[in-house]
């Protein structure tokens, strides 16, 4: 690679044949620090990377690795007290680090587009969609007046909103997450920038939506010859979408190079761990190990968690009794949604769903958001009443349980929810949080409860000292451990895990999955595992029910679903797992 400073490229890069030989973006020894009361805390420590015009480069790492900070440093939108303390960010040969705020205004949007992470919080809720797109177009002088409006519609249509013209006046809350992300992509590309920074653009979305959007983004950027800097925590996704990978760990680049090479032959121990933990890759790996025994399994023998998980699954299979602990028969749930005045729309959220779970096994309920899987969980937990059908638990109909009987049922069936931030009371310390169910069910004396808290913290591998800490002082993974500990406090038979690992990083996700299966073997727990992520399912579930629009479209053992999916929808879901198309093991 050439280290000389190149003249700014005046004409846009030709598309078609693609890659130019001059770097579009070159970061040299970048250091970013955050000012705190105890001095400057470095977040990015000497990062260098080079991105050529027309190329896609992915920065991969867990949260806190400095990947987002690096991306934000490029357009100088560091959060809070963040500052570039050293290094250069050469964009077409010009050092962005030295530009004034006024000069940066000209770079942002027009030369470098930005697609942020969370579609829910990145559009201003009080302005309509058309306004927010048009404002970007006007600010970058792409078009003014009537032409700007035309251009807005065009941009949104290109981003995949076919009915853009009718929806300009609508507000962000009237759009789904996927639609909002399309709007944000439209905004990012509206001025045809040379570089697009996409910071986890699809992490908050379903796999199938994610696939559509990334495919679309790929097409758009290829057509315009836009370079893409792609930030993600998902190694499988990165490998599939980018030619070049940069792996970051604790603010440093630990490995970089062509995606295929890094994935097939990771050099750095951290990259090896990342490759081993990525569920998307792991499920592929199991497949390839099965088809082609020797090769696949051996490459990742070091610290690979999936072999342990698979072994545990086999153990469970043998141990499983013939008895069904939970038997759900033909349940339906009808919601009446009030529209205008006194009229109702009826929504059949769950439509004639039946399944059974044997004691000590894990059944996964898989589907996109809106498929009714979480409603099934609520019905099973008796948090909502069923419209028709029966739910049997341990031979007893639970549909009409009231008072003490319901309380007793709740003791045996406990939930763990998706969001470890939202499901823990920020004013309650960890000890009180875990002891709360015991208190609610009036179990034990204060000392006995303390002892149980200690035991539970031990089971979820957290130190005893954690009990005095508050949720805000814990990481996402630690919080989810607390949520699991709380769910286990009453010694339940069943845990309903509603997207319990979806919000976590791959490595943390791996730890929690490991913990869950370990506890399952140890305590003989039964899991209903609700997720949109088929990759995770492969690692933990014995049986899979695939849901679509309120119905179970396919129900079989995990191996059957993965090896020979019958339904087109299941095949689609499987194909959408990032990294699924990646030729693995070779």
């Amino acid at each position: 690679m050439s280290q000389t400073v190149i003249e700014p490229v005046s004409e846009p890069v030709n598309n078609g044949s693609g890659v130019s030989h001059e770097p579009l973006l070159q970061i040299r020894d970048l250091e970013v620090g955050f000012q705190t009361q105890h001095g400057v805390v470095p977040a990015v420590r000497g990062v260098s990377l080079t991105l050529y015009a027309g190329q896609t480069l992915a920065i991969v790492g867990e949260s806190g690795s400095g990947k987002t900070t690096t991306a934000q440093a490029i357009i100088k939108l560091l959060a809070g007290t963040g500052k570039i303390t050293a290094g250069q960010i050469l964009f077409e040969g010009r050092d962005l680090a030295g530009l004034s705020e006024k000069q940066m205004q000209d770079v942002r949007g027009r030369l470098i587009g930005y697609v942020p992470q969370d579609p829910m919080s990145n559009l201003n809720p009080v302005w309509n969609i058309g306004f927010q797109v048009e404002e970007a177009i006007k600010a970058n002088n792409v078009a003014q007046g009537k032409a700007a409006r035309q251009r807005t519609i065009q941009v949104l249509q290109e981003a995949g909103l076919s009915d853009a013209e009718d929806r300009l006046k609508q507000f962000p809350h009237q759009f789904s997450g996927g639609m909002r992300q399309r709007v944000l992509i439209g905004i990012g590309l509206s001025a045809r920038p040379k570089l697009l920074i996409a910071d986890e653009p699809t992490s908050a979305l379903d796999v199938t939506v994610q696939r559509q959007i990334l495919d679309h983004l790929g097409t758009l950027t290829r057509d315009y010859g836009t370079s893409v800097l792609f930030i993600t925590h998902d190694l499988g996704l990165a490998a599939e979408r980018a030619e070049q990978l940069v792996v970051m760990y604790k603010g440093k680049v630990v490995e970089s190079g062509p995606s295929q090479e890094i994935l097939a032959n990771p050099q750095h121990p951290y990259t090896q761990r990342l490759v081993a933990a990525a569920p998307s890759l792991a499920s592929r790996r199991i497949q390839s190990a099965k088809n082609d025994d020797a090769v696949g399994a051996e490459i990742f023998s070091g610290g690979s968690l999936d072999t342990t998980l698979v072994a545990r699954a086999a153990e469970r299979e043998q141990a499983a009794e013939a008895k069904d602990l939970i038997k759900v028969q033909n349940i339906s749930k009808l919601y009446r949604i009030r529209t205008k005045g006194l009229k109702y729309n009826e929504l059949l959220a769950v439509n004639d769903v039946s399944f059974a779970i044997k004691k000590g096994t894990t059944t996964a309920l898989v589907g996109e958001s809106g498929s009714g899987k979480s409603t099934v969980a609520k019905l099973l937990l008796q948090l909502e009443s069923i419209t028709s059908g029966t739910i049997e638990f341990d031979g007893q109909d639970v549909a009409g349980l009231k008072g003490a009987a319901l309380l007793k049922f709740r003791r045996r069936v406990q939930p763990v929810f998706q969001d470890p931030y939202g499901s823990l009371d920020p004013q309650y310390n960890v000890g009180n949080t875990i002891a709360e169910p015991l208190l609610a069910h009036k179990i034990g004396t204060s000392a006995e409860r303390q002892a149980r808290v200690r035991e539970l913290l031990d089971q979820v591998s957290l130190p005893w000292a954690t009990r005095y800490r508050y949720p805000s002082e814990l990481s996402g993974g630690q919080r989810q451990r607390i949520a699991v500990a709380r769910a286990l406090a009453l010694k339940p038979d069943v845990l309903v895990l509603d997207e319990a690992v979806s919000a976590l990083d791959v490595l943390v996700q791996g730890q929690i999955l490991n913990l869950l299966t370990e506890l399952q073997t140890e305590l003989g727990l039964t899991y209903l595992f609700i997720t949109h992520d088929l990759a995770v399912v492969r690692l933990v579930a014995d049986n899979v029910c695939v849901m679509q629009r309120g119905r179970i479209v396919e129900s079989a053992s995990t191996d059957e679903v993965f090896d020979s999916p019958r339904e087109a929808y299941t095949q689609e879901l499987l194909a959408a797992i990032p990294g699924a198309n990646f030729e693995f093991g070779r």
Binding site: I75, L77, A79, G80, E101, Q105, D106, V107, R108, G109, R110, G113, Y114, P116, Q117, D118, S121, N122, L123, N124, P125, V126, W127, N128, E135, A136, A139, N140, F171, H173, L184, I187, A191, R338, K340, G341
Partner: protein, 309 residues
């Protein structure tokens, strides 16, 4: 929206009756005889007291008095004070003055409060921000009558820029100083509210995205920060309009303004049931309307809020 407004207006009916009944009852149970108080030391002629009692229905049971009062109220007759003036006259004099004072105060606190709060929020931790916080804390912790007397002394007595007391017509120019005093505490709250709201919104994801679009700082603040920050401020202003309309007793006392606060205070001291209840009834209606206005403004500022039902 129309449905919602209609529903809210209908809700005013029970609120109106509940409030008037409650106030009527409270005035009724005040200790002391208002008629005896009219005469002071000189005993009235025999039979006169009974006659006055009958005239004002004071000889009837409480609930009958209330029903007669309400009946008259809806015929536009608000009764007379014990000194013989129609209550409607007293109201017609007091309410315009108080309304002028309150609206002026509201305008002052809204304009300067939002302005200072916005600048403080944008320059968090800088000198301006710190001074704004100190000043607002001072205004909140020092009682209104102290602020009132100090401003009165400095501007009216020492500098002679304003009159110490307000004439009975109470033109806007004379009300400026009292309005400033009346606005001071709310101004401090608005500064703090706006500041907190602005500095929250500055860190919002959508503001970063707006900057990443290439918008100028001025536009980001004006379009994306300010409107979002005004939602809580508007709520406060609406509630405050209600309390400014009814609760200016101290300020009115300092500047000798014959507004609503002073009139009601006097009427309570004299035990004049009809006067007190009539004023309170109008205040209740104003308060409820102000709150309705806030809720409608709320929906205008934040499209996520829609009153469908």
């Amino acid at each position: 929206m129309i449905w919602y407004t209609g529903k809210r207006l209908l809700q005013m009916i029970p609120v109106f009756f509940g409030a008037t009944l409650l106030i009527y009852f409270m005035v009724f149970s005040l200790p002391g005889d208002p008629i005896a108080a009219l005469y002071g030391d000189r005993p009235p002629a025999p039979g006169v007291v009974e006659q006055i009692r009958a005239q004002y229905n004071l000889d009837k049971p409480f609930i009958v008095q209330y029903l007669i009062y309400i009946g008259n109220f809806f015929q536009g007759d608000l009764g007379t004070t014990y000194s013989g003036r129609p209550v409607s006259d007293v109201m017609a004099k007091a309410f315009p003055i108080t309304a002028r004072l309150a609206l002026l105060a509201l305008a002052i606190e809204a304009f300067f409060g939002i302005l200072v709060g916005l600048v403080a929020g944008l320059r968090k931790g800088k000198l301006f921000d710190t001074s704004a916080l100190v000043v607002s804390l001072l205004l909140i912790s020092v009682p209104t009558f102290v602020i009132g007397f100090v401003l009165q002394y400095v501007f009216a007595v020492q500098l002679g820029w304003a009159r110490t007391t307000v004439s009975s017509e109470a033109p806007l120019s004379e009300l400026l100083l009292p309005a400033l005093v009346l606005a001071s505490v709310s101004f401090a709250y608005i500064v703090r509210l706006t500041r907190a709201s602005v500095s929250d919104n500055l860190n919002a994801d959508f503001v970063r995205t707006a900057t990443a679009k290439g918008l100028s700082r001025r536009r980001v603040v004006g379009v994306h920060v300010l409107r979002n920050s005004l939602v809580p401020v508007v709520t406060f202003l609406g509630v405050d309009l209600g309390s400014l309309m009814v609760g200016a007793i101290v300020t009115e006392g300092i500047f000798n303004i014959n507004g609503v606060g002073g009139t009601v205070y006097k009427a309570i001291k004299l035990g004049e049931g009809p006067t007190v209840v009539s004023f309170i009834a109008v205040m209740v209606v104003i308060f409820v309307l102000a709150n309705l206005l806030v809720d409608l403004l709320y929906a205008a500022l934040d499209p996520r809020i829609r009153y469908a039902k």
